[in-house]
């Protein structure tokens, strides 16, 4: 009896991983292009040469100190936010859930703005190491999601209620962020505005190192947590019926999603809609399989932010437009499309 089951499974599996492989290949291509494009074009072969440890001295300088950091940061941050979105969409069983919609992005942003306002001196320099910034973002993100969950209370099982509370908390966090920027030192405001929209152009290797150090264990933890996502696909009663401790599991997943979002937002700002679209596309492309889905979502998320950054560099140079504006311009209509489609499905 199990032979036909296997025969059925294998091609589906192969197809799924072939799609992931294609996405990964595009990801690498985009990463190389992201490094190649700029005020001067550096050929992809030169880029690859530098990345593999060779290359000319001039190329090395431009690639390694100017361009690669922002591309890597975009890839990491986009991937982290997409992964958080994947977790949230599955645990709430709602394709409209995302770190942005649930207030996590704005909570993290508020944490960072407060951090900058409190710990900066007159000359706009931090008085404590930047290492603490993700912690501030994490606190803000956790506070936001805790607030959403507490407000939703017993209604937390209802995805719609959760989203409504998330939107409300996000609005409050956003308003507070604006207030703190206005009453804070004026020399920070213009910098913070750009950063709030999401930008990767000012990032350096030190910050990327912090990002990667935190992301490593976090992604590992997420992988372990994800083992229990399939039972969580069922309604609460059925999921608990087969032995999943749903309330505890939901909290753990929310915390993981908040942490993933926080680390990204803390360094590149509040990039919108990646956490919504990337996991949704991943599900369209590879189906419900969780490992392939998570990988695809992370790669797509990274690609979206790299692509957005590349676009603003090419289209708007020499003005640095925040990459987050591109993701928002593309993302908002997609969100509306999903909303309208969901309405149709419901009625």
């Amino acid at each position: 009896m199990s032979a036909p089951a296997l025969a059925l499974d294998v091609p589906a599996n192969r197809g799924r991983w072939a799609v992931v492989a294609i996405i990964a290949a595009l990801f690498v291509l985009l990463l190389l292009s992201g490094v190649g494009f700029g005020s001067t074009w550096i050929g992809l072969d030169h880029v690859a040469g530098v990345l593999l440890g060779g290359g000319e001295k001039m190329d090395r300088l431009v690639v390694l100190t100017l361009r690669l950091p922002r591309v890597v940061a975009a890839a990491l941050a986009g991937g982290a936010i997409a992964l958080a979105g994947y977790l949230l969409q599955r645990i709430t069983r709602n394709e409209l859930a995302s770190p942005g919609v649930l207030g996590v992005v704005d909570g993290a942003a508020l944490g960072v703005v407060l951090f900058l306002a409190i710990f900066s001196n007159e000359s706009n320099a931090l008085v404590i190491p930047v290492t603490w910034q993700p912690l501030a973002a994490g606190l803000g993100a956790l506070l936001a999601i805790t607030l959403v969950l507490t407000l939703a209370g017993r209604q937390a099982t209802s995805a719609v209620r959760l989203l409504l509370f998330g939107i409300a908390v996000a609005a409050v966090a956003k308003a507070l962020t604006t207030i703190f920027m206005l009453i804070g030192p004026i020399y920070q405001a213009s910098q913070a505005t750009r950063w709030l929209a999401g930008a990767v152009d000012t990032i350096n290797w030190g910050e990327i190192q912090i990002m990667a150090t935190v992301l490593g264990p976090l992604v590992l933890l997420t992988g372990l947590l994800a083992r229990h996502l399939p039972p969580a696909d069922l309604d609460d009663v059925s999921a608990r019926g087969i032995g999943l401790n749903v309330p505890l599991y939901r909290v753990l997943v929310f915390v993981a999603a908040a942490a993933l979002t926080a680390i990204a937002v803390s360094f590149v700002g509040g990039v919108g809609f990646i956490g919504l679209i990337a996991p949704h596309l991943a599900r369209l492309l590879v189906g419900r399989a969780r490992l392939a889905g998570m990988l695809a979502a992370a790669l797509l998320g990274g690609m979206m932010l790299m692509g957005a950054d590349l676009l603003v560099r090419v289209a708007f140079a020499p003005i640095e437009v925040p990459a987050g504006t591109v993701t928002a311009i593309v993302g908002a209509p997609y969100f509306l499309f999903l909303l309208m489609r969901k309405d149709q499905a419901n009625g």
């Binding site: 069922l234 059925s238 087969i242 032995g243 419900r288």
Partner: protein, 277 residues
């Protein structure tokens, strides 16, 4: 009843906030039998079933499974002993039947115990027993009501629990599928000796399939026993507010209730009823 009980409920009070649903209830669920909980809408029978599966924490009292308080069992441990089919379960529309049934094996797996031949065997048996093997690759969203219900029952069967609770399993099914479903449950009970607890609100279906019938009304167990003892016009009037005649089903030899009309005003010994329709 002298039969050994599988589940003993002692002094159980269930509440939603401060609204008490069931008050100081005592009940035993006999091992290897079909027990049916029946009663009018809102009497608390579904809440009782959920409490048995520990989905509703008691305000006070105990539920003992083989003499052990279920409050002390781990989530997966309990899920290996009591299975539950929820009243209106839901799964993603793009999930396949096989994926759904596989989830029934979740409590048997852990990081140290990945999917094994035993799990495959249980999966195939569950799909076989419910007749959904040929639907294994179909998406949940494309199934008919009867097929969907069978797929869910297969999921609960794959759990391989000794006790199976089903909350109104024949709701929204047509007559043929109602019989299919309950015959399947009976077969599991007779052939494999599983203990079954059902919530049904069709009294005649309850009388036909139950070994033990439990009437729940106004937050307490009004009476419980075999269908012959329970299907009495006075008891039916008291619990369901229905004036009825009870005859013997000429085919199955089970009691059959023929409702004649509202009992209110007729059975003067009943408490004033708050029932709506």
């Amino acid at each position: 009843m002298d039969e050994p009980s599988r589940i003993d409920i002692a002094d159980l009070t269930l509440a939603y906030g401060s609204d008490i649903v069931l008050d100081a209830l005592n009940l035993s669920i006999p091992r290897g039998r079909i027990t049916v909980l029946a009663g009018p809408n809102g009497c608390g029978k579904s809440t009782l079933l959920r409490a048995i599966r520990r989905l509703h924490a008691p305000k006070s009292g105990y539920i003992m499974l083989d003499g052990k308080d279920i409050a002390r069992l781990g989530s997966k441990d309990l899920a290996r002993q009591i299975g539950l089919l929820a009243q209106s379960p839901s799964a993603p529309a793009d999930m396949t039947v096989e994926e759904l049934v596989r989830l029934g094996r979740y409590p048997h797996q852990s990081m140290l115990q990945p999917w094994s031949a035993r799990d495959t065997a249980a999966l195939e048996r569950a799909m076989d027993g419910t007749g959904v093997t040929h639907l294994r690759g179909r998406r949940i969203g494309s199934l008919s009501g009867g097929q969907l219900q069978r797929a869910w029952i297969a999921m609960v069967l794959a759990q391989e629990t000794e006790v199976i609770c089903l909350d109104e399993p024949v709701n929204h099914l047509d007559m043929a599928h109602q019989l299919d479903c309950l015959d399947l449950v009976t077969r599991l009970n007779r052939e494999e000796g599983r203990t079954i607890v059902l919530v049904l609100h069709d009294l005649n279906l309850a009388a036909r399939y139950a070994d033990k019938l439990v009437f729940v009304h106004h937050g307490r167990v009004v009476a419980s026993g075999g269908p012959d003892k329970m299907m009495r016009p006075d008891l039916i009037a008291q619990v369901f507010d229905v004036r009825a005649e009870v005859i013997t089903d000429p085919v199955h030899g089970r009691p059959l209730c023929i409702p004649l009309g509202r009992a209110t005003g007729q059975a003067s010994n009943t408490a004033p009823t708050k029932l709506g329709v």
